[in-house]
Amino acid sequence: MEWKLSRREFLKSTGSFLVSLPLINTFGSYSSSNKNDPDEMYGFLVDVSRCIGCGDCQAACKIKNNLPVSSDLPYERNERSYWDNYSTLSAYTWTRIRSKKLVKDGKEIVRFIKEQCMHCIDPACASVCFVGALYKTPEGPVIYRADRCVGCRYCVYACPWGVPKWQYDKPFPFIQKCNMCYDRVIEGKKPACVEACKVGALTFGKRKELIEEAKRRISKGGYVNYIYGEEEAGGTCVLYISDVPFDELDFRKVMKFSYPELTQAYLGNMPIVIPSLFVGLLGLYLYSRRRQEVKR
């Protein structure tokens, strides 16, 4: 039967296909975090109790990254409170201070929260980027390589915090987000926002040291016993501690595992699914052919 040969060929090709599947990973990856210890990644600690909302970090970020100061996009205009000078992050505002009024011990107080990219250890944005434009560096910052970007905007969809923004006022937009001043970090300097902070609300360092520092401050009292970012989305390089509960400060509740695992669980089935489909189809084909022959 002529199909015997093709069956052998088929097995051979399926086999070689299976062998070559791991090779595809050598072509590219979104992250080098599997090779690097998260403890050694750089990040910064935001101490909400120390922030006075001066906005120097915002200004430093705008200057460092050459971002326009007044560039309201349609959705930035609403819901601006007295202290907020930008009501959301946007393609032109990579970090901002938002304010939150709340009641503590019967007194009305205000807290200021710095927002920017969380620089996840295993970032969802980079995992969904099919050309590797968003990339997790071994040093910690999640950077954007604009020369690769196709503009599918899957990163905007995927980020649990909604950090990557796009220039939707332009015909050929790019994605924009905080890159933790990667160029400064690899030179051994602090990011611009950290350097600008005069009240010690921002502390730059390696993630492990930051967690130790956060625990030290918490143990001295006056803080909520929680480090936001230690487990969020599988851990982030930017960490927060606060003297009021994070729920009351409207911090996003995100999953405490790395988001890319969700898609890897699905994609990981492919080496089984593809050959099984082949075998199933071939089996069905040979079976129906045989049945027709018997009928004759």
Partner: protein, 376 residues
């Protein structure tokens, strides 16, 4: 083949729609995304929901039919093959065109093909590669039709021989199986931003089965249209067989959907504002056609088959819009997405392009078996 009056009216109407959409696309490429309702809260809108998710889901007919004819040897479906192949190929081509207009950097559409940029951990990488590959496979599957017109007998005897066609069809079933399900896999990354009535770890499976349900539905609708327009007979016995297949696919889909909802405890969300969309989708789009197709005598009625098919197509369209837009929990309550006229015009252009290409192909190519001349 003289151009009849109705043909002229039909094609000029389509050309008008295309011209209008081309203007919308021109604005998108010159003025920018300001002419759309897309923004940071809604990175994906009508173009992804309709042109991509729906367009691909409704183009599952080709590989389903190829499975029937070539793999399990149901040769009786052969007369339906060519028109289905044509509509599905056109759907994929317009999807590709729609995506090029939608992405931020249209000139870089080839970037994911460039090995140095490979990032295979993204579901989109698989979707992109499978859709590109499948367009090529469909072009090869379609080529004998053109060859027949050009009377390249050697060409279509080679391609249509079992040795070439069967392996091609096998790849041509696996590839769309992968990307039909991976389109659902795209949403797995956002568990806390997609409403629990739609987010599920088995979204890929649900997308695949609902696309399979749409396949016979689209074939039945297209057969009805072409039989009316071209005055051909309706292959009612074939369509009834498709109706029976659709019945079982719907049964499996509805069962899996509810077991999944119950297992995740998501049924308790029925009653909130978004669940109205869910109820309309599942009741009118999936359960109603299932009930219509259950009695055997209904499956034999052309009118009920057509009605059930229209409901299924409605259900699948609604499902894709719901998963992408209705279920999208991320934007603050004030930010609601509704496509602008520019977005709608571009989608209209893509649909009209498909219709125009289909009309011309039927006129000039041997798509329907009656028009086949030699080689029958």
């Amino acid at each position: 083949m003289t151009a009849s009056k109705s043909f002229l009216i039909w094609t000029s109407a389509l050309i008008l729609v295309i011209a209008f959409g081309a203007y919308g696309a021109f604005l998108r490429l010159t003025v920018g995304f300001k002419v759309t309702a897309l923004n940071d809260y809604y990175p994906w809108g009508l173009w992804i929901a309709y042109d991509v998710l729906t367009g691909i889901a409704l183009a599952a007919g080709s590989f389903s039919l190829a499975f029937g004819v070539y793999i399990i040897n149901k040769k009786k479906f052969e007369p339906l093959l060519r028109p289905t192949l044509l509509t599905c190929l056109l759907a994929y081509l317009t999807t590709a065109l729609g995506l090029i207009i939608d992405i931020n950097q249209p000139a870089r559409f080839w970037h994911p093909m460039f090995p140095l940029f490979f990032q295979p951990h993204s579901v989109l990488f698989e979707v992109y590669w499978c859709i590109s590959l499948y367009i090529i496979i469909q072009l090869i599957e379609f080529s004998p039709i053109v060859a027949e017109k050009l009377r390249w007998k050697w060409f279509y005897t080679v391609i249509e021989s079992e040795k070439v066609m069967v392996p091609l069809v096998m790849v041509g079933i696996i590839v769309p199986t992968l990307h039909q399900s991976s389109l659902g896999g795209l949403f797995l990354i956002a568990p806390d931003k997609v409403h629990p009535l739609w987010y599920s770890p088995i979204l890929p499976i649900l997308f695949y089965i609902s696309a399979l349900a749409a396949a016979p539905a689209m074939i039945i609708i297209e057969s009805n249209i072409s039989s009316r327009v071209l005055n051909r007979g309706l292959e009612l016995d074939l369509l009834s067989s498709l109706g029976r297949a659709m019945r079982y696919i719907l049964l499996v889909y509805v069962a899996i959907r509810f077991v999944d909802l119950a297992a995740r405890g998501a049924l308790s969300y029925i009653g909130d504002a978004r669940s109205l969309f869910f109820l309309v989708e599942i009741l009118i789009g999936f359960i109603a056609p299932l009930l219509l197709l259950l009695p055997e005598k209904f499956v034999k009625s052309g009118k009920i088959l057509l009605l059930a098919s229209i409901l299924v197509v409605f259900g699948v369209i609604m499902n894709r819009f719901d998963v992408l837009l209705t279920a999208w929990l991320y934007p603050p309550s004030g930010a609601i997405y509704f496509p602008t006229w520019a977005e709608i015009s571009v989608t209209g252009m893509l649909v009209a392009l498909e219709a125009l290409a289909f009309t011309l192909a039927v006129k000039y190519l041997p798509i329907f078996p009656e028009i086949k001349r030699e080689h029958a």
